[in-house]
Symmetry: C2
DNA sequence: TATCTATATGCACATACAGGCATGTATTAT
DNA sequence: ATAATACATGCCTGTATGTGCATATAGATA
């Protein structure tokens, strides 16, 4: 059974600063686990979970569980979503969106084989872990 | 001074059934007076006025007064708006949006030289006036 | 088994906002 | 000058929703 989404529902989902910041992250990396989003945006985990649920309910995201981890991903399979995300890519250019992308890029350095392997990481720990990682590479 | 529009503000403006129906009308006819919108959607004038104000405040519409009449028009001059409206054209395809367009087309028959020359018109009157108009054309 | 850990959710509170009604304002018509 | 018309706006009310806090759930680990 196909779930019909009302346009209003989609726009309601996008009508929130935090949710736009979340969507912005997915434009950079189309699959993210919850803790990566929490660390990149520095917003409480329970808020992120709720916002992800709204975005999923609007048909913009879907998710998949792997153990305790939950990977959310954008539904670019739907043609209209593709157009919408393409628009958002041009639209979300404010400073904060770019800062979020930079924070995410740092966080993604901790991935192994393209998968998140750590949980929530504080700002300070993140820097330490990135340095260690750099040491391993050398 | 250029007014900066926050993305959230735009999506909030679009996150309402009535406002989406209004925008839909402008995708068909890019300049409309308030009474034409009221008649096409059959929604109280004070509601339409408020919604138009929200859309204008979000940078999607602008308006121009001609006597007591107020003509609102979509701001397609802004590149991002153009993309957004193009998306909406593909997105607003539900039955109600099509019905609204049909109602608007009927109402636009009453225009003279491309301008609205009547005020609020009831359903019944509209039909009568359209018939008269058809008579004139013959 | 017991304990972390990653994520989700229920509840309380405050705020935002759409709808309804009445009324205000400004322009036109008589 | 008065009335009618086109549109805007202020106030009230109910509902929806974002935030914060606490807690639940479920999988991983020791």
């Amino acid at each position: 059974m196909i779930k019909l989404i009302k346009p209003t529902k989609v726009f309601k989902a996008l009508a929130d600063d935090t949710r736009l910041r979340i969507v912005n992250l997915f434009l950079k990396e189309r699959s993210l686990c919850v803790c990566e989003i929490v660390d990149a945006l520095r917003i409480p985990q329970y808020q992120i979970s709720k916002h992800l649920s709204v975005l999923r309910n609007a048909g913009l995201l879907d998710f998949e569980k792997r153990g305790t981890w939950a990977y959310y991903f954008i539904k670019i399979d739907e043609p209209l979503n593709r157009i919408l995300f393409s628009f958002l890519g041009k639209y979300l250019k404010n400073e904060i969106f770019q800062q979020d992308i930079m924070a995410l890029e740092n966080r993604l350095i901790l991935r192994e084989n393209g998968k998140c392997i750590v949980g929530l990481v504080s700002q300070g720990e993140l820097l330490k872990m990135i340095k260690e990682k750099a040491g391993q590479v050398l």
